[in-house]
Point group: C2
Chain length 156, copies 2
DNA sequence: TGAAAACCTTGTAGTCACTACAGGGTCAAC
DNA sequence: GTTGACCCTGTAGTGACTACAAGGTTTTCA
């Protein structure tokens, strides 16, 4: 298989395939006399494995880690569980913060009607009030105002 | 106020403050004879405004847009509503995909007990089965298997 | 007085997982 | 023989920072 065929077979962009090779996730394939890459079934499976993990939103570092276990089947699998657990924990933390965020945005959105001038816009007023240190609908007093953006709001 | 004082007052890293200036979000402050930046109340408010919007997970481009409205209070505010609505839509889409992801990870995690060798690990088996094109607990047949990572899984 | 620590400046490079080019080479069909 | 589809390598861009290098200034303390 040439690179574009592998790409078509897996739905992965050709440049992404070369990127995975450069990153050491996909082993370097054989080369034809003209320098073209030639892939076999093992590459296709490996690439599918990688994309499956990516669909689960795992980082390339996590996937590299999992691939180590595939290469060393005699290792204890406890660390695989730990990896999945930690990943799940991050997903849940992000879910929690996104849920809070949704509520804040809904409250903010409700503070403005339609069809007037920015000077009278409730949304802008709310945001400016917050900048003055006053309570805002999106971050009510006593509920903890994130002056500093916390890790959970930033992490991917 | 010098840059570190502004940083302490707002909880924002000094390098981030200089970054906002370079990006045109924070106006360039006055300079002392020695070249040190000197900020006033208006800068503090503007920076707090920016961080409040960042806490709502808005992009710097969105914030730039909002700041335009602060600068032009006579403009129609319809676009502010649109901006917040679109942002809310993105947050909800991400929430939906993260919810699905959580379920997938829980199913995957359940496929492995503890304390055995990687070769027998249910998680690894599931991931490898998926790479063989078989149905997996995390992406059951008929529920749509994302061979290609979809935008929703990628967007922040 | 002198030296160290704590500031400040600019500019550049790194993060992540790609994506998009530039500038070239190869190959098959017409 | 030329068009177009493919392939190669290498570099630069994305967003929102973060971290450093290499220098200048100011404050503090012995």
């Amino acid at each position: 298989m040439r690179v574009s065929e592998l790409g078509r077979a897996t739905g992965v962009d050709v440049e992404t395939i070369r990127y995975y090779e450069k990153e050491g996730l996909l082993p370097a394939p054989a080369r034809a006399a003209n320098g073209y890459r030639h892939y076999d079934e093992a590459h296709l499976e490996r690439l599918t494995f990688i994309r499956h993990c990516r669909a689960l939103d795992m980082s390339l570092a996590e996937i590299r880690h999992l691939l180590d276990f595939v290469a060393h089947p005699q290792a204890d699998c406890g660390e695989i569980n730990r990896l999945v657990d930690e990943h799940l924990e991050r997903v849940r933390a992000r879910l929690k913060s996104l849920n809070a965020l949704e509520n804040q945005l809904v409250a903010l959105r409700a503070s403005c009607g339609t069809g007037h001038v920015a000077a009278d816009c409730g949304i802008l007023h709310e945001l400016e009030a917050a900048a003055h240190g006053e309570a805002c609908v999106c971050h009510p007093a006593g509920k903890g105002h994130p002056a500093v953006i916390t890790r959970k709001a930033k992490e991917r």
